[in-house]
């Protein structure tokens, strides 16, 4: 897992390693020997790299580290690699909401022709003493809602159908 950082809107991959005597920052442009020592001031550090010595101040937040240096503050965002590299592979959402188990419809919250948003509750079912809310798998228009409140249905019955997005 390489680390991905975002600086001024640009993403860069870096990795900090150790060569036995000091730290090495591995960047896409090559390895940079470096060293960071606390100065005792709040967040204060002394950074040595490329033959230069630089005073910096660091503050660590949940998603980013803030570096104050030469009168300017840089936000260095930490990007989760698994999330970043996953892309949008959630796949094409189905048009169909299929009954996950046999049960009874408790309430229906949408009707054919309605425009719905992804995640919007379409109907509530009850099975095994549990009420489950079934939500729209994607944005779209309702084509069919075959069951009314009180109806019972079997496993894999189609409980809601969105209008096809083909063509």
């Amino acid at each position: 897992m390489r680390r991905i950082f975002q600086i001024d809107g640009d993403e860069t991959e870096c990795w900090l390693s150790h060569d036995g005597s000091g730290m090495i920052l591995n960047t896409p442009d090559g390895a940079i020997p470096c060293r960071l020592d606390p100065t005792g001031l709040p967040g204060g550090h002394e950074l040595r790299a490329k033959g230069r010595v630089q005073d910096v101040r660091l503050a660590v937040g949940p998603d980013a580290t803030f570096v104050h240096m030469n009168g300017r503050t840089y936000a260095i965002g930490r990007v989760d690699p698994s999330e970043r590299l996953a892309g949008n592979d959630s796949g094409a959402a189905d048009d169909r909401i299929v009954a996950p188990m046999p049960g009874v419809v408790v309430s229906v919250n949408a009707k054919p022709g309605d425009h719905v948003k992804e995640g919007q509750p379409l109907l509530v079912i009850e099975s095994m003493k549990l009420e489950t809310s079934l939500t729209a798998p994607r944005d779209g228009v309702i084509a069919e809602m075959p069951f009314a409140a009180g109806d019972s249905f079997g496993l894999k019955a189609t409980l809601a159908l969105l209008a096809s997005e083909e063509d």
Partner: protein, 535 residues
Amino acid sequence: MRRIESLIDTNAADYKANYAAMSERLKEFHARQHATRFERPQRDIDRLERQNKLGVRERLKLLLDPGTPFLEFSTLAACREYDGAVPGAAVVTGIGIVQGREVAIHANDASVKGGAWYPHTVKKIVRLLDVALENRLPVVHICDSAGGFLPLQHGVFPDRYLGGRVFRNQVKLSQANIPQIAVVGGHCTAGGAYVPTLSDYNVIIEGTGAIFLGGPPLVKAATGEVVGVQELGGAVMHTSVSGTGDYRAATEEHAFSLAREIVSQWKRTPKTIIETAAYEEPYYDPKELYGIIPKDRKTQFDMREVLARIVDGSRFHEYQPDYGTTMVCGFAHIWGYKVGILANNGVLFNDSSLKAAHFMQLCNQNRTPLVFFQNITGYMVGREYEERGIAKDGAKMLMAQGGSVVPKFTVIANASYGAGNYGMCGRAWDARTLFMWPQAEIGVMGADQAANTMADVKIRQLQREGKELTEEEIAAIREPVLEKYKRDVEAYTSTSELWDDGILDPADTRNALGMSISASLNAPIDDPHYGIFRL
């Protein structure tokens, strides 16, 4: 590890309604807990003062390291027994810190019936000593008990897990090289005399503490000998003549400072090393749990939203996110300790059971403790599922769960019905600690189903006898059954009967788990081994 992205809208109407309902419940819960801990009839307070004794809470304060947490178990034990007249079952138990060491504490509460042992008192003490054995925790006993409550002696004395088990567990602790100390701050009579004498060390408080097999009245009745408490079993006699007592303390304060000094002499055993990370508070506020837990128990909720308010940094590595989705499995850290979490997002199907079994094996292989969050109405029923072998897939899950060698911890977060309770490490399955949330329910099935089943049996019986029942007559049969069952499945019944280690404010769950995990690492973790999986 990635942070869970919460989808909760804290301005939504249902969030606010849930929040209000849970706040109301917690108001009652905290009030009951406070009453159990601190409210006593004036005459009991006066009696302790007359006897020159401190209350049990003050004694704990003298014993424990200041500013450290005390994980109290089963505060509301016996709250639905004895007409509520034996708060906390007349004993305080828990895990606390003494001289930087985690210890199990058993302290009689003499402000309740003179600290007499009721059936639930014995159950609570035995449970505490089981916790000490499983987690290899040293024990501090604070003894001040009138002895077994005679009118209920059949529930205190004879059976395997009753009075004798307290002393048997003390022997097993000693045999396992786990130290114990007793501070005698009242009378230890008959069986009670064995608590300090089976401890490696004991301290007797001069004037109030005494140890004897038979007290002065019993001696007089048995042999005619007339003898006072101090000569028969007081601090001076035992520490200078019989050698039954080790240290004589002038005051309560002196006794507990001696006890702390003794604890600090004990050899520390290194804790089991598991994976850890730097401690991090959850990113999302644990109090938001109040708005997430639905006020209607039947309403489904996403356990990931719960986990986001329990685990370090709200970070969760989910295992098999797209398979067996009614079972949420994954890794997280609590108080820096790496754990494997199993949480219910619906009924257990074949795939969710297999996923759970596989995940538990991964955690055992990895020596990763397991944490269960129960909201389970059962394994799926019906022809389709029986044909797919739901019963044998459930058996695999039980085999993996029951055969786990890593420490297990259970939170009954909502429903805990039927075999789902077993699969998800219910009380019978040796969770190191098991806690309940105040709105949670536990029973062989839901209240409505049980009431209907029981009423149906009765109705069919009457119909066979040729009786025609009207709607009202059927309701008259069903309603009382429903009322009773509803009460029987409540968290207060569970905690009264010690089917759990206490009810928790959901926002405290993280800390209770953190302390439990930390304590569990005093015991080593065995190599994984299992029974036969029905494949």
